[in-house]
């Protein structure tokens, strides 16, 4: 089978035809997982909304398990596989390594995803996303996850293989692009993640089949979180890469400094994984030294990296805009940004929400002692809806607006809706994250069917404010679900019925990437970015205030030693 390449007439990107089909497969599989997860979200939220309390307890826990797994694993990892293929073969103008194996791996992933979903909906595997032992699911729940992970692992290695081919066949000059470097970071973290998953899920599968007598619950949590938390770190690396990509695509923005951005990614590779400890801070058995070093990503070096990305991405945009002449005052560059372009607005809402809501809350509750205020309360899902939904999902949605014409060769239908969709979905999610964190601060539990404790001999009465927060969670989640469902509908209808766009030239040899000759005497000095620094300082002020308010709160509690 000879490799052919298509040059997209709209973006100038060059796609290996087989890689392009694989990307479409993963994008579609991801969106279908999002659809299932989204329907489940409706069930979850209409039950946790105290005034509605829709589902029975057993259905609720089943639906919640499906929501977690379809969103956090299947939607995101399918999409990330498309990102890996894009960042290697497309951005490097290279053929994809072993396309047939890639297809086999992709089909394995799909089989795994279906198998685990079947297990969940058969009703005897309502063990939540985390499937903590000694609570047991049916064997095919675990097997599905393992097959999915094996498929993903193979694609990670195909990504690495493609980088090797690109280097060997000299399809680009110099270093790989920053976005590919970010994808490489995500890939390295993914390999670590999947290894962690295999170490714990294979024995758990054997235990569910009766070959192993017992799995220690503490060991399970330690090893499981090597997968569970790391899988979310893949997202961070991937969506930061997408922020850089969208800034480049929409503004032609150039990284402020390749050195700084790449070093920040390197800090991710070195330290991000340690944060698995975030989940174990309120557990017995680990020492405080272990907790402090790991939970802080060894002195917060990964937080440092995120704070760097959080500044360099808008900084690159500010530089690009100032070069175009938007130079008035601190913020003209931002005011005159294309707020009606959904790729940009999604990306910017993702950046701000991830930093202000997800980042600050995550670091706060990752402090060893402060974690006691938060552990297993609904604050935790509040936090990760800010990171994974606002940060990752919204960035993926924004990129998809760009991919529909480029990859699927269709015009996006309903452009009017596309303009408002990121705000509808994104801003509603901002509120959801905030009110969930508010309810969690008052103590409301996560993964809990009834905050009124019906049937408990000694029920606890939550303060009225907690009910208010949960009511608001219900209302704004429904708005977010409308925004999310609208996006799915829009993308699916566009792919099926959107106006067909020109295919572009197909050729049998790739055009290698050539770089413009460097400007003699180095590039002109890029403009300064005072606006971005002001935004960053506002962020830091919010961070410091919120951090110490929580220590103050902690100091009022019972003495614990």
């Amino acid at each position: 089978m000879a490799t052919t390449y298509r040059i997209c007439p709209r973006s100038g990107l060059q796609f290996d035809t087989e890689a392009e089909k694989l990307m479409r497969f993963h994008a579609v599989a991801g969106v279908l997982s999002l659809l299932v997860g989204g329907i489940m979200a409706l069930g979850v939220i209409l039950t946790r909304w105290p005034a509605v309390h829709l589902l029975s307890a057993d259905t609720f826990y089943m639906v919640l398990t499906a929501h977690g797994i379809d969103m956090l694993i299947f939607w995101i990892i399918f999409f990330e596989m498309a990102v890996l293929i894009f960042a290697s073969s497309t951005l490097l103008h290279c053929r994809l390594a072993t396309p047939k194996l890639a297809w086999a791996a992709s089909i394995l992933m799909a089989i795994g995803a279906i198998m685990t979903n079947v297990a969940i909906f058969q009703g005897e595997s309502s063990v939540m996303f985390t499937s903590y032992v000694p609570m047991q699911a049916k064997w095919h729940f675990y097997l599905g996850l393992i097959l999915f992970a094996v498929g993903a692992l193979i694609i990670c290695f195909i990504f690495l293989g493609t980088l090797v081919i690109a280097k060997a066949e000299k399809t680009y000059e110099g270093s790989i692009p920053l976005v590919t470097f970010g994808a490489l970071t995500a890939c390295i973290i993914a390999i670590f993640t999947i290894a962690g998953g295999a170490i714990i899920l294979i024995p758990t599968l054997l235990w569910s089949l009766g070959y192993i007598r017992e799995i220690d619950s503490l060991m399970y949590r330690v090893v499981w979180w090597a997968m569970g938390h790391s899988s979310q770190q893949i997202n961070v690396s991937a969506h930061v890469a997408i922020w850089y990509a969208i800034a480049a695509i929409v503004f032609g923005a150039k990284p402020m400094s390749e050195k700084v951005s790449r070093s920040a990614y390197f800090l991710y590779i070195l330290f991000l994984q340690l944060a698995c400890a975030h989940h174990l801070l309120s557990d017995p058995g680990m020492g405080s030294e272990w907790k402090v070093v790991n939970t802080s990503y060894f002195m917060y070096f990964a937080v440092l990296a995120s704070m760097i990305h959080g500044m360099t991405v808008p900084g690159a945009i500010e530089q690009a805009q100032r070069l175009k002449g938007y130079n008035k005052g601190l913020f003209e560059w931002l005011r005159k940004a294309p707020w009606g372009n959904p790729a940009f607005s999604s990306m910017f809402l993702s950046l701000i929400g991830f930093g202000f809501l997800g980042g600050i809350s995550g670091v706060m509750m990752g402090a060893e002692q402060l974690n006691m205020l938060i552990h297993n309360t609904i604050y935790v899902p509040g936090h990760f809806h800010a990171t994974v939904v606002i940060g990752t999902t919204l960035a993926f949605m924004g990129l998809t607006y760009f991919l529909v014409p480029v990859l699927f060769k269709r015009e996006v239908l309903f452009p009017g809706f596309a303009k408002i969709q990121p705000y509808l979905f994104g801003l509603a999610m901002y509120v959801v994250a905030l009110v969930m964190m508010g309810a969690g601060t008052l103590g409301v539990s996560r993964r809990h069917w009834d905050m009124a404790f019906a049937g408990a001999p000694m029920a606890y009465e939550w303060p009225g404010a907690a009910y208010l927060m949960m009511g608001l969670t219900g209302i704004f989640s429904c708005i977010a679900i409308v925004g999310g469902a609208g996006w799915i509908l829009q993308i699916v209808l566009s792919i099926l019925f959107g106006k067909k766009l020109e295919e572009g030239e197909t050729r049998s040899t790739p055009i290698p990437l050539t770089l413009p000759a460097p400007t003699p005497g180095g590039a002109a000095h890029p403009p300064a970015t005072p606006g971005t620094l002001v935004l960053a300082l506002i962020f830091l002020t919010a961070f410091i205030l919120y951090y110490f308010v929580n220590w103050k709160y902690l100091s009022s509690l019972w003495g614990l030693a």
Binding site: M128, S217, L304, Q369, M372, L540, W558, G559, A561
Partner: protein, 179 residues
């Protein structure tokens, strides 16, 4: 020229770093180190640090220790389920069982006195969530976690289970009195 292309200048690592970018990196580094020191500082000067004292145990052994305390210090029973209310002397070891679906027994403690609270689960994992204090601790089967607690306010406190433990999870609420 952009993040989706290879760096235009092949020797990109020799580019000088923008002054504002440098400033931000320095600020972020200082803040990162501050937060790191904060946790250590609290271990030395703070009064709320979760103990790590933990022993391997068995369900039978832990249940027997709990029963011994209950037999010795029970002052009355409460609710239809006749849950014992146990009033141990200040400073003693008190054992709390988490199981499907209750926290057993109820303790009655004195304000500003210190007790050694033991936590363990009999079946699945459970979540010790003391309300309205909002102190949350993971409880494992086969591990005995020992925490020195000093209640600083009188009142009736609830222990909500906040680790999912099956269909009756929401009915799992216990109680501690502080007088």
């Amino acid at each position: 020229m952009s993040a989706i292309l290879p760096p235009a200048d092949r020797i990109w690592w020799k580019h000088p770093i923008d002054k504002l970018e440098y400033t931000w990196i320095a600020i972020a580094l200082i803040w990162s180190l501050t937060m790191f020191v904060m946790m250590i500082w609290w271990h030395i000067y703070g009064n709320q640090n979760l103990a790590n004292e933990t022993y391997k145990t068995t369900k039978e052994m832990y249940a027997a220790k709990t029963q011994a305390v209950v037999d010795k210090y029970t002052v009355r029973t409460e609710t239809d389920k006749q849950i014992p209310v146990v009033k141990p002397p200040a400073g003693s070891d008190i054992y709390l069982i988490g199981r499907l679906w209750d926290w057993w027994p109820i303790y009655e403690l004195e304000k500003d006195k210190t007790y050694k609270l033991h936590l363990s689960a009999m079946d699945y994992m459970h979540g010790f969530s003391l309300q309205p204090q909002n102190i949350n601790i993971q409880v494992h089967p086969n591990y005995d976690h020992v925490i020195k607690i000093t209640p600083n306010q009188a009142g009736t406190y609830s222990i909500v289970c906040n680790e999912y433990c099956g269909i009756g999870h929401h009915t799992m609420v216990g109680r501690i009195y502080v007088k």
